[in-house]
């Protein structure tokens, strides 16, 4: 299974992509999709829908899914915390606040909002770490203090974001949808602006894969094998923040993926990062496409945001995971 997983995952992704391009208000058969891609005819409505609406949407979903899932895997590995994920350690909330603050307070253009998102994501993460340390849980083997602080920090940053939104009703309209995690073709320009950053983050994480695997053995062991522990950790966390903050800059904060995908993939690929990370990317892209499909079709013609669907699913998944990880055995 482990050997075959990447191939299977890639196949699954291709299928999901096909599904995402076919399904919607009108069902476009594969032949129609092929026609759109190969012999684009702008007078054919199906072609326009595929190329201008569904394809950008699918690309955004895949990129965000991959970036967030990989970030989640790295966070879980470095922080040694099975519940770590970009949304639970304050990265998503920080990036979202930075983008909104940039747009509302500084009038930043979308291009510049990417840098704001990065800064915000990093700061959000640092804030969570800081609060966790202040809570004084030095002897906290399960790393739960970080999750709690992350949740508190996210709550706080979310409140600030809402406050900023209230201050300008005109801009509020634009960003309210984005804040809910709107994987829509309307954000295609953002995709063009920020995909490079996300790819950079993901590439960096892949490059660090071998070292991360060694790190998982334990700090001392890794150091004895010649790994610069602190530097590796710093680089890996930075890459994770880069990737997830860029994803947030494109389509708004999306939860669930960074948390659950690594857990789903780990039994199938093993804990080695060299296999885990690509697996997470593929699986994350798949899941995000599927979630987007649900968001589009579930309450048709009403349009739901993908982020809302992910949060709904994510909450349930989180509950199951808490039961699995923390409620086995007596716990005081």
């Amino acid at each position: 299974m482990r050997r075959g997983f990447p191939v299977l995952a890639a196949l699954a992704l291709a299928l999901c992509l096909l599904l995402a391009l076919s399904a919607g208000e009108s069902w476009i058969p594969p032949s129609g999709i092929w026609a759109a891609l190969a012999r684009f005819d702008e007078t054919r409505q199906a072609d326009v829908i595929v190329i201008y609406q569904r394809l950008p949407r699918a690309l955004i979903a895949m990129l965000a899914g991959a970036a967030l899932s990989m970030s989640g895997a790295v966070l879980q590995g470095v922080l040694r915390n099975p519940l770590a994920s970009p949304s639970l350690v304050g990265i998503n909330a920080g990036a979202a606040l930075a983008v909104v603050a940039g747009a509302f307070l500084l009038g930043l253009e979308p291009r510049a909002q990417g840098s704001a998102a990065l800064a915000g994501g990093g700061l959000g993460f640092l804030a969570s770490l800081g609060v966790a340390r202040l809570a004084g849980h030095a002897h906290d083997p399960r790393g739960l203090a970080l999750i709690l602080s992350g949740a508190i920090v996210s709550m706080f940053l979310g409140g600030l974001t809402q406050a900023l939104l209230l201050s300008d009703p005109a801009l509020r309209q634009d960003y309210l949808g984005w804040l809910g995690g709107n994987v829509s073709h309307v954000h295609a320009e953002r995709l063009a602006d920020f995909w490079g950053l996300a790819a950079l983050g993901m590439a960096a994480m892949l490059l660090l894969a071998r070292r991360l695997s060694l790190l998982a053995l334990g700090a001392e062991k890794a150091a004895s094998l010649g790994i610069d522990v602190a530097r590796t950790q710093l680089l890996a966390l930075g890459a994770a923040v880069l990737a997830s903050a860029s994803a947030v800059a494109i389509c708004g904060p999306l939860g669930f993926l960074g948390l659950v995908v690594p857990h789903l993939v780990r039994p199938l690929t093993g804990a080695r990062f060299g296999a885990l990370l690509p697996g997470c990317a593929l699986a994350g892209a798949c899941l995000c496409l599927l979630a987007d499909l649900i968001a589009r079709m579930a309450l048709a013609p009403l349009a739901l945001h993908t982020g809302v669907v992910l949060e709904l699913l994510g909450g349930i998944a989180f509950m199951l995971m808490v039961r699995r990880f923390y409620l086995r055995g007596a716990e005081a």
Partner: protein, 325 residues
């Protein structure tokens, strides 16, 4: 003797006016409202203040305006819908957006406060300043400019409403006479849909003057595929739909507008918004291909008043005069 009787009657009548009447408002509350209120405060600008001012009711305070009479929200509805300049006759507000300052409200010395049924939670608190009358305005209960009609009845301005309505009717008849072939001949013969564009498309229903105008022109609201499945959606004022559903809409008349918080609300802005949401709309949407799209200014047509209905007729007239494409 007769003269004495007449004088007595007149005297009695004089005592009779200036009193208040006990009425039941739309949420079932018993309210004692003055027969001829001179200082009315409205809790909602497009839904209440605009119809009231058009009826000639003296409005001295509106929620959502600043102390100097300028609008605190993105749009100055009084200016857009009624052409009022704030410098000429500023009407102050009753606190910042999001909360009502009871002290400011009281300082205006209102003798009547009019709110919508959504203000039911505040009614008790506000009645400390003046009697509060709540007017139904939800999409399920109000339609077209029924809100204005009701308010006219409650505040004894039926004459004024009749005048406004007559002018409106004359305009309708004029349009019918000018373009007999392009408008529906029987009521409900053709369908319409109003779409408001934000970062997604929203189908608008219910109670605005635009709806009134369209129905009087002979259109009825088109059904949207799948809409019937959600019971709630029938009473929804705004129904967000997906971009692909937008492309599939095909009523006999499609009216498009940007939201009133958008930086620009003209036709060019609406076209740009459509380009973003549904690229190629002008080629693929049947109404667009066949010239059945009318662009509205959301800040002008969304109040339940004759003024909004007239603005809608302006837009429709512009479309009709553009000639068949």
């Amino acid at each position: 003797m007769r003269r004495l009787l007449m004088t007595a009657l007149v005297a009695l009548a004089a005592i009779g006016t200036g009193q208040a009447a006990e009425v039941t408002d739309d949420t079932g509350r018993q309210v004692r409202i003055p027969d001829d209120p001179q200082r009315v405060v409205a809790l909602h600008e497009p839904v209440l203040a605009v119809p009231l001012i058009e009826l000639g009711v003296p409005v001295v305070g509106i929620y959502g305006r600043g102390d100097d009479g300028s609008s605190l929200t993105a749009v100055d509805f009084l200016h857009e819908m009624l052409g009022r300049s704030k410098d000429a006759d500023p009407i102050p507000g009753i606190g910042p957006v999001g909360s009502i300052n009871l002290e400011k409200l009281r300082a205006l010395r209102p003798d009547l406060i009019i709110g919508t049924d959504y203000d039911a939670g505040k009614a008790k608190a506000l009645s400390q300043a003046a009697p509060v009358y709540l007017q139904n305005s939800s999409a399920a209960t109000a339609h077209g400019f029924s809100v204005q009609e009701e308010l006219a009845r409650v505040l004894h301005r039926e004459d004024r409403f009749r005048e406004l309505r007559a002018a409106y009717q004359a305009r309708l008849d004029g349009l019918r006479g000018q373009f007999p072939d392009r408008l529906p001949k029987a009521p409900g013969e053709r369908t319409y849909l109003i779409v408001m564009l934000t970062d997604q498309a929203n189908v608008v229903a219910g109670m605005s003057g635009a709806v009134q105008a369209l129905e009087d022109l002979g259109y009825r609201r088109a059904e949207i595929a799948g809409e019937g499945s959600t019971r709630q959606s029938r009473s929804m004022l705004i129904l967000p739909i997906g971009a692909e559903s937008l492309a599939g809409l095909n009523p006999d008349l499609l009216l498009v507008m940007t939201s009133f918080a958008a930086p620009a609300r003209d036709e060019a802005a609406a076209r740009a918004a459509l380009d973003r949401l549904s690229p190629g709309w002008d080629r693929f949407m049947a109404p667009a291909r066949e010239g059945r799209v009318v662009f509205l200014d959301s800040a002008r047509v969304t109040s339940p008043s004759v003024a909004s209905a007239m603005h809608t007729l302006d837009a429709v007239e512009g479309w009709l005069a553009g000639g068949p494409r």
